[in-house]
Amino acid sequence: MNVSYLYSLLAVVVLGLIAYAGAAIGLEVLFGIIIPYLAVLVFFAGFVNKVLDWAKSPVPFRITTTCGQQQSQDIFKQSKIDNPSTTGGVIIRMLLEVLLFRSLFRNTRAEFNGKKVSYKWVVWLWLFAFLFHYSFLVILIRHLRFFVEPTPFFVKGLETVDGMLQIGLPGLFLSGVLLLGAATLLLFRRILLPKMNYISRPADYFPLFLIIAIALTGLLMRHFTKVDIVQVKELTLGLAAFHPGIPEDGVGGNIFYVHLFYVSLLFAYIPFSKIMHAAGIFLSPTRNLANNNRMKRHINPWNPQVKIHTYEAYEEDFRDKMKEAGIPVEKE
């Protein structure tokens, strides 16, 4: 059994303790201001750098993965989204990929039953991934409250929906629980399914533990240790306005600094990790190009000159045999 997840778990726990201890010994400025700023800087610089680096390489060929009927004679109904031949089709295909994880939705599981191999549609990975990403998105948007004053209307609206269960005070947000649940399921999937366990490495577990830790510290702060939300907001608004400062009365518990440190780590980690898939999907040539190759010529900027074996050279090799067989030749 591959236990590499233990390293990642350990790393996340240790990092959390460092932040906790740091805040306790009076390093609030480091964990509350300097590191968050650095993290955001690293995130933007790294993210832009990575995307520019991708964009620097050309797309020499139009290699799409076609997942349906091509455009052909009109009796054959084209699969306009899964095998798009127009930009409109590509846009819809990309929207479905980015917003609904269309390809993942196809997932099947191969099974050996008696003498048969069967392929069953399985929705779990798609479902966990969907819940994971969307609850994360909702949480991200909700947190705008901490960086924008007054709180935008859509944040308030979202909070109303997100808190509709009306459990506890302050009210429990569905998204927080869902994120924690989905991330945990994704984690268990990696640890417990033999194949997943086999292919998983620290780089797979680390971001999962990190996000679980972010969710846990968030829930902890809101519902148990009860940070001083007014002070927290003062700090975060200060950060957003580039007037950073640590509130004099504290934020009501060092767990906040742990939470913020984890978030900072995640941001800084993104450009150097697999989380770049979020940007990569937009540039994936198999999905973002139209299958119109035979209709419209694609240009390769480095199309090389190659040495070919010309017809003339070929005829030189075989002229006599061709003549004897009655095959026309250029030079008699």
Partner: protein, 539 residues
């Protein structure tokens, strides 16, 4: 060839339980029967590739050049700069595992390195170590791995256990295309002089002789003459195809496998009979006597060299457009590479069927039409006299070849043709057809005898689906539009489902096709009676 286990034994022996040891620590099993023979120097010389001399993958020490690490590093760098796809495919995988059990080689071998994700990791781990910040600093914690001679052996083993079928790419949430990863891996190996002969010999042959099999022009003509004799015997009609004829309207190009060995030859006879029935103004070429392109399995440059013959010959002969036969990877090259590499084909006209007047607008730039597109259009316009009952002894299913399905989307045309020429047509289960089709197990230059064990395992998912419809509907004929399929399926079926034969779509067309003035047919194109004996007894 090593002794093969019995089918049941092989099936029961497949174990998908991952080993205890991490894949990074497992040495590749390069033993006899698990590798294809290396390319011979004489073939490499023709293509001006590095020649390593005589060697065997079973050797402890491989004939790597002195600066092999530098060659790999530089080669990798160059390819990252040339292909955005490679960068994206190296950076975005999250190892979600969706691809893991989509690969026919993984399903058939249970070898974890045959999971597409791990196959790509073989390359990715080196990429991370040498080309990413995180990997340079964190090494193995960030998934990086040092390039060693063992890595090269591993690449050789596993990039030649991938048939570039692209099934995993359908399921990947980021569209990562393992075929491209494998192609890059093979190109890097090629830089070191490490190739397999089953690919390199066809490449060299095709370069010099015009086709993979090295059939010289006069021999090509003899073979075709021989096939037309057979057609005459069956139909009473003598066909005289022309070769290298200038001024023909259409140049017809098909893989050499179609005129080299049965059952491909029956498909070739089918093309000739169809063209005869139409009175088509076409010519064959001895120079462009190959539709397939094993350059695709070697390197981008090799592919371009071989592919150049199609347009060059079309230009020399002054034809209006090109018609292409039934072949899988040939159509990947035509659809995704040809126009870009060797176009623009501005000396040709937008293909128009001289029989129906249909303009093949979807081929307006490349100017090359797939024969099933052409035939489907004929049938739709009622231009063919067909007697599908002549195929009544066949219960037919259709195998989507990987490349036409996932690199083109040619799905309904061949089905339409088949359903019009056969009365008994049955689909295999839906997760095994169309864009989810399974490879024959022998694609991308792996259809060589010495890796038969791998081929049978890789072909298991396909064969098992055939077996399903054989048992359920009595299917006894597997139709396909790929010359490699037609070479690979006979032994695959013989092993897993011996009651099922292999055919091309146009063999079925020609069986049903009524030629003007033909004699009463008593046999099909294989000289076998039109009806099975037991069926006749029933009547």
């Amino acid at each position: 060839m090593e002794e093969l286990p019995k089918p049941d034994e092989m099936f029961e022996d497949i174990d998908h339980t991952p080993p205890d040891e991490e894949w990074e620590k497992i040495e590749s099993p390069i033993t006899k029967g698990r590798f294809a023979y290396p390319a011979k120097d004489k073939n490499l010389q023709i293509m001006e590739f590095r020649t390593p001399g005589e060697w065997s993958p079973a050797d402890e020490e491989w004939p790597l050049p002195e600066n092999w690490q530098e060659i790999i590093y530089e080669g990798f760098r160059e390819r990252l700069d040339k292909y955005r796809s490679l960068k994206i495919f190296m950076d975005t995988c999250v190892r979600c595992g969706a691809c893991a059990d989509k690969c026919h080689y993984f399903i058939g071998t249970g070898d974890p390195k045959n999971m597409p994700v791990v196959r790509a990791e073989l390359l990715r781990s080196i990429y991370r170590k040498d080309f990413t910040t995180a990997g340079r600093i964190l090494g193995s914690i960030a998934g990086g791995r040092k390039l060693t001679k063992e890595t090269i052996k591993e690449w050789f083993s596993y990039f030649y256990q991938c048939s570039e079928c692209r099934r995993c790419s359908v399921f990947c949430p980021y569209g990562i295309d393992t075929a491209e990863v494998t192609m890059m891996g093979r190109e890097l190996l090629n830089l070191l002089g490490l190739n397999i002969n089953w690919i390199m010999e066809p490449v060299a042959n095709c370069f010099r002789t015009g086709n993979h099999l090295g059939i010289q022009p006069q021999a090509f003509k003899e073979i075709v003459d021989f096939l037309t004799d057979d057609i005459e015997e069956i139909t009473g009609i003598k066909i005289n195809p022309t070769f290298n004829r200038k001024g023909a309207e259409i140049l017809f190009i098909t893989p050499s496998g179609d005129y080299f060995a049965d059952p491909g030859t029956y498909t070739f006879m089918g093309y000739l009979m169809l063209f005869e029935a139409l009175g088509l103004d076409y010519t064959l070429s001895t120079y462009a006597s190959e539709g397939g392109n094993f350059g695709l399995f070697t390197s981008s440059d090799a592919m371009k060299k071989l592919n150049s013959k199609m347009y060059n010959e079309a230009r020399r002969l002054g034809v209006k457009w090109i018609l292409g036969g039934e072949c899988g990877h040939m159509w990947r090259v035509i659809n995704q590479y040809m126009d870009t590499m060797n176009g623009p084909a501005d000396f040709l006209e937008v293909p128009k069927s001289p029989i129906t007047g249909t303009v093949f607008d979807n081929a307006r730039s490349t100017k090359m039409v797939h024969i099933t597109e052409f035939t489907a259009d004929l049938i739709r316009h009622n231009k063919l006299k067909l007697d599908p009952s002549r195929n009544d002894k066949f219960k037919v299913t259709y195998h989507d070849s990987c490349n036409p399905s996932r690199a083109m989307g040619l799905l309904d045309e061949p089905r339409y043709v088949l359903q019009n020429v056969c009365n008994h047509f049955y689909e295999m289960p839906e997760n095994t057809i169309r864009e989810q089709t399974f490879c024959c197990g022998s694609g991308s230059g792996l259809n060589t005898e010495e890796v038969m064990d791998l081929r049978l395992r890789g072909g298991l998912p396909r064969a098992n689906a055939v077996k399903h419809v054989h048992e359920k509907y009595g299917v006894n004929m597997l139709a396909c539009i790929c010359a490699i399929d037609r070479a690979a399926f006979p032994p695959l079926m013989e092993y897993w489902v011996p009651e099922v034969g292999t055919t091309g779509v146009h063999e079925m067309v020609a069986n049903a096709l009524v030629l003007d003035g033909e004699i009463e047919r008593t046999t099909d194109l294989r000289f076998e009676p039109l009806k099975n004996e037991e069926d006749e007894a029933d009547e």
